[in-house]
Each structure stands twice: as C-alpha cells, then as structure tokens.
C-alpha cells in the first residue's frame, strides 16, 4: 500500500517538527488538537442552544396540561447548551497562551503513532459517500456502489488493480445478490431496472 502524501500542511508541519527533533522522542505529550477548531465548536454549541430556545418560542403548548409543556425540554436543553458552551469556551480561552502554536494536547480519540494523518482524505471520502448516495436512485446500486468503493479505496492509497477494481466489483455483486435474492430487499437499479426486470431478478 502506498504512503499517503495528502497531509494538512500547517498541522502536520508542527507535528513533524516536534517528532523529528531527537529530544521530542522523549516527550510523552502529543499535540493533536487544534484549539481554534475546539473554540469554534464551543461557539457552535452556544449558537445551537440559542437556536433551540429561539425556535421553541413557536412551539404550541399542546392540549395536555402538564407543568412542563412541549416547550419545557427545548428551553432546558437550550439553556444547558448555552451555559455549557460558554464554560467550555472560557476554559479554552483561559489556556490559550499556555502553549505556542495552534495545537494542544488531544482530548478525543488519538491517531495512531508513526503513521501519516490526512483530514483531506477523510473529507474526500465523506464527499464520495454523499455523492454515491445521491447517485443511488439514478445510477442504481450496481453502478453507484463500485463508484463509491473504487474512489474510496483509491483515496486510501491503494493502487493495486485487484484491490482497486476486483474487490469493489465482487463486493457489489455479492452484497446485491445476498440482499436482493435470499433476503428479498428491493435495491434500486436505476436505468438498469427494465433490463433486470426482464431477467426476472427484480419485481
């Protein structure tokens, strides 16, 4: 499998700089979390809370007279989000200048050490999945799925033709057969529907 070269320049430059220094191998700390994005998420949480409360004003009370009403939980959740988001934002801002640069110690799932990281690849794959689902009804499962798999396997760095072409085709045929024949699910076939209908493979 080829090594991936589509890495985020600014983030991995900082990581690479740290990891390439001989002394850095003795560091137990890994700086993997972008504090700007972390702060942006807290802002999103606050805005989400504001949104919940703002939209809750238009919710009708309902006919059943309970003290909380249909608006109660939305208001409560909105207030909770606003307070929580502000607390997280303040915590992030208070520790903003502790470390130079934009990276701070990670708080979520860490990437595995010793292997290159690429968020560009991840979001390319996300975009591929969205496109393939959008194409599902027009192209059908038998064409949209190999498209999705070939592009995704290629984005993951594979260049071996067996894995790039054979695996997606065999996977698509196997899953189509299992789901449509013994499990009797009707999978979309797009413009190939009349053809498969004439073969009796789809209702």
């Amino acid at each position: 499998m080829t090594e991936d070269v589509n890495t985020t320049k600014s983030d991995t430059d900082e990581e690479t700089k740290l990891e390439s220094e001989e002394d850095s191998r003795n560091f137990a700390i890994r700086l993997t979390l972008d504090k700007r994005i972390d702060l942006a998420i807290t802002v999103v949480i606050v805005l989400f809370g504001v949104f919940l409360i703002f939209e809750a004003r238009d919710i009708r009370a309902g006919l059943i007279p309970d003290p909380i009403t249909s608006r109660g939980m939305p208001y409560l959740t909105g207030i909770f989000c606003i307070i929580g988001g502000i607390i997280l934002g303040v915590m992030r801002l208070m520790s903003w200048s502790v470390l130079p640069g934009n990276l701070v110690p990670g708080e979520g799932h860490e990437d595995e050490e010793g292997h290159s990281v690429s968020w560009v690849r991840t979001f390319s794959i996300v975009a591929t999945t969205w496109i393939s689902v959008w194409l599902l009804k027009s192209l059908g499962y038998l064409l949209a799925t190999p498209f999705f798999m070939i592009v995704t396997v290629w984005l993951m760095g594979t260049r071996n033709w067996k894995k790039l072409i054979l695996f997606p085709v065999l996977y698509t045929l196997a899953t189509w057969f299992v789901f449509s024949q013994p499990l009797q699910f009707i999978l979309p076939l797009g413009f190939l529907t009349p053809f498969f209908r004439s073969l009796g493979l789809t209702p």
């Binding site: 979390l33 998420i41 607390i87």
Partner: protein, 512 residues
C-alpha cells in the same frame, strides 16, 4: 424460582432450532473476526450485521446480535496475546501479560488460560443474567410513569461515568442527544417540534442516527490514517496446557466472573472497567503479584473472565429495566425498534420470547466457543493480516446499504452520514458519542414519563418525587451521579496534573 428455571429451559429449547443455531454460528464467527480486528470494536461489529437482521424475525435478530457481541469479547484477546495488540480496550491487560508469555514461548499456556477463563466466565454469567432479570421484570407491575421516569433518570445518569476527562464536554454530548430526540412530534401532546423537513415530522429514525454516531463516525475517523498491522506473518504453534494448570486458575476465574457480571450490569460501565477491576483484585490476592504485567496467567484469567462475564451483565439493565448498558445494547435497542418492539421494562412481560432468544444467544455462543474456540485462535491470528482498507470500505458500504434497507429511503442514509460527520468531530474533540447515543435512546421516554407522571400527580412535584419506588430509584441515581462525578473529577484532575507536567517539560525543552 419457577420463572428462573422456565426462562433457562425456554432459552435452551430455542437453541434446538437448527436455523437459529446456524444464524448464531455465523454471528459468532463474525463476532470473533470483528473482535480480533484492532480498531473495529464491538459497536462496529454489531452495527455491520444489524442490516442483515432486518430480514430475520425479532427473536433471531436478538439472538444474533447478542451472539456477535459475546463472541467479540472472546476474539479480541487473540491478537492481544499473539501480537500484543488488543482487539478492543477490554483486552488491554490480556495483551500485557499474554504477549509477555508469547515472547517467552508459552503461547499455548496463555491461549489456553484465556480460552478456559472466557468460556467459564460466559457460562456462569448466563445464570446471573437469568437470576437478576427475572425478578427485575416482576417489578414492572408496580411501575407507573413516575417510576419509569426514575429508571430513565438512572440510565441517563450513567452518562456521567463515560464523560471521560472533561465532564462538561460529556454533558454537552448528552444534551445534543436530547436535542435530537426533540425533532418531530412531542411524545405527550403530539405537537410538532423542529420539523424542518417533511421526512422528520414523525421524528428522526433512531437506527440511522445511532449507526452514524457509533459506527460511521469511527470509520470516517479511521480513514485519517492508512496502514495495516505487521508482525502477524510468521507461523505460530501452540499446545493446549494441562487441565491441572487451568483448574488452578478457577478461583481467579470465579472472582473475575462475579466482578464482570456485577460491573457489567451497572449502566455506563462495561467490559473494560470490569476487566481492570478484576485484574487489580486478582493482583491484590495473588501469591505472586510480581508476575502481573510480566506474564501472569492469573492476570489473564481474571481479565478474561471479567470481560466475558460483563456481556451477560450489561444485558441485565437492558432487558430488566429497559436501560441500555452499553453501545452495543443501544444497537440492540435500535434492532428491537425496527422490529416493532419498544424496549422497556414491560418488554419481558409483553414479549417474553425476546428475552428467551437473548438467553439462547448467550447459551449457544458459549457452547459454540467451547467447541471451536481453541482451533479458532490460529484462524483469528491470520485474520488480523487482512487489508484494513478493505475492511473499512466494506464496513462503510454495509452501513449505507443496511440503513437504506430500513425504509428504502436515501434520506435515512443522508441522516446516517450527517451524524457520522458530527460523530467524527465529537470523537476528535473529546465529546463522547456514547453519551449522545444513550440520551438519544432514552431521551423521549425520559420526557414522556416525566410529563405524564406530572399529569398523574396533578402537577405536584412533591407527590411525583415522594412516591416510594420513585424516591428510591432517584436516590440511587443521585448517589451514583455524585460518586461518578467525584470519580470523574479525580481522574480528570490526575490527568490534568500529568498533562501540565508534560506541557511544562515540553516548554522547557523547546525554550532551552
């Protein structure tokens, strides 16, 4: 007592169905593979076979999902011992001692102890499952809306145990889960809330959201890196150890089984916590504590029996109280909802066949692993060499296909992918997806029972909260909440101190 024996015999009777046994066999094979593959985990293992269960009956679906979950706990230890890489976090301590034994040329001893402890742990914990769920189910006759609210509060308070180092982020994840449950019709007045698309007028389907948050997010996260596990190419031979050696581990296995079953039954705790507690207890009582961490078979026995016993344990609150005990139980809930059953304490009394089928899944998995667990070791060792890209892409494809088959709707798939992206950011930036998943499953019931309960008590909070069972369950919940919060704060403080020291060292190095 009659009900206890009836439940066991009914579940064993279900095991006589050859078609069900065949489906469970396939699930056990897949569960072992999923558990053995590092990075896959129990949630993804179960999520991948979830779509296949739509074509089954509800009983078959439950048995298969339970079997896959239990088999995952067995499979995760094989690469832990032979490569030093645990398949899931529950096998971390097995990796420490097991791999040490492997390097000493004692692979067979390590694998044999693991096999014995896992099978015995599963077998005994099955009795614990029946012994606790049956009495719990009898209590449902006294549960009205206020008591149900208290149970849901207990389930949601378990979130505090999985918030990680940052409690506020954990609570925000839980709040997000609550907000998701508000889309669609209000569970009490049927008033429409936050319905911006016609497709969510009746609320978001739970299954696509859960699969998106738990499985797809993890798959997206794994696409950040591209690699395969090395060091798994050479041939390994392992001889089964003498029965006398295994028999000597029985006290540790029994201890681990008890700890695993009880800890697993506490919502928010699971195999990893049970394994750790059992391991430390075994070390405390061992005549040779110095061996722990360097190839102790007592450590392996304690770890394996606990993590395998916890699988039956986490099904206790799931079936007995309607509170999912773990991520995989949340997926089980999604499967039940898909088959038209609403999970809750009434489930066993209204649909006892589902309870028996869960038991059938447990028994059949234990017996199958007892028969084929040992030869499976070498096969699972080879499985780890499979192309990880193929597994990630294949699993992603199955998730999309499976969600599509729910309603034949691309909207559901888009919802799953949307929550997969949300879950990706949550995982990267420390917001536990498990907390969001639990509140998504329990949120509607929590609100519904609270409001209906207040209607029953004519709006009186005192009358609501002072009902004996409500007060008892809420007191337990608050005690667990306080205990969990203190524990989480202590751990977070410790982690913060360590981090502070490391940051200080780092700053010293770069300035000096």
């Amino acid at each position: 007592m009659d009900l206890f024996f009836t439940s066991i015999t009914e579940s064993l009777r279900m095991c006589l169905d050859p078609w069900l046994l065949f489906l469970i066999f396939l699930s056990v094979i897949w569960g072992n593979i999923g558990g053995a593959l590092p990075g896959v985990g129990a949630s993804l293992t179960v999520a991948v076979i979830l779509p296949f269960t739509y074509a089954m009956t509800a009983e078959q679906a439950i048995a298969c999902l339970v079997a896959a979950n239990c088999a995952c706990s067995y499979g995760n230890s094989i690469p832990a011992i032979l490569i030093g890489v645990p398949g899931t976090s529950s096998a971390v301590l097995t990796a420490v001692d097991g791999y040490a034994l492997h390097k000493q040329g004692k692979s067979g001893l390590a694998l044999g102890v693991q096999f014995y402890a896992a099978i015995l742990g599963q077998f005994l914990s099955n009795f614990f499952f029946f012994a606790t769920v049956v009495p719990l189910a009898q209590l449902t006759y006294i549960l009205l809306s206020p008591e149900m609210f208290a149970l849901y509060f207990l389930g949601i308070s378990a979130v505090i145990g999985i918030t990680g180092d940052n409690i506020v982020k954990g609570l925000m994840a839980a709040a997000f889960g609550f907000a998701i449950t508000m889309a669609g019709r209000d569970p009490v007045s049927a008033v429409t809330r936050y319905s911006y698309f016609i497709e969510i007028t009746r609320g978001l389907e739970v299954t696509p959201v859960i699969i998106g948050l738990l499985a797809v997010s993890e798959l997206f996260r794994q696409t950040r890196q591209s690699f395969n596990w090395g060091g798994a190419g050479q041939k390994i031979s392992a001889k089964f150890p003498p029965w006398k050696t295994l028999w000597g581990m029985t006290p540790k296995v029994l201890l681990g089984c008890g700890i695993g079953a009880v800890v697993g039954a506490i919502p928010g705790l699971g195999g990893a916590q049970a394994a750790f507690i059992s391991y430390t207890q075994a070390k405390m009582w061992s005549k040779h504590p110095e061996l722990f961490g360097h190839g102790s078979i007592e450590g392996i026995a304690a770890n394996e029996s606990a993590q395998n016993a916890s699988q039956a344990g986490e099904m206790v609150p799931t079936f007995g109280l309607g509170i999912p005990g773990s991520n995989t139980m949340v997926l089980l809930f999604a499967a039940l909802i898909m088959h038209g059953f609403y999970p809750g304490p009434m489930l066993i009394t209204q649909a006892p066949q589902l309870f028996y089928s869960a038991g059938a899944g447990l028994w059949a998995t234990t017996f199958m692993l007892a028969l084929m667990g040992w030869p499976l070791c070498m096969i699972l060792y080879k499985i780890v060499t499979l192309d990880r890209t193929a597994i990630i892409v294949g699993a992603l494809g199955l998730c999309m296909l499976g969600v599509w088959t729910i309603n034949g709707s691309t909207f559901d798939v888009f919802v799953m992918l949307f929550f997969g992206v949300i879950g990706y950011f949550m995982m990267r930036y420390g917001y536990p997806v498990a907390a969001a998943s639990i509140t998504i499953v329990l949120g509607r019931g929590f609100e519904a029972y609270l409001r209906r309960g207040l209607v029953i008590t004519d709006g009186s909070w005192w009358a609501f909260l002072s009902r004996p069972w409500t007060a008892l369950i809420l007191s337990i919940s608050i005690a667990l909440l306080i205990y969990g919060t203190i524990g989480t704060i202590r751990l977070a403080r410790k982690a913060a101190e360590i981090k502070k020291q490391r940051v200080a060292d780092h700053l010293t190095k770069i300035s000096g």
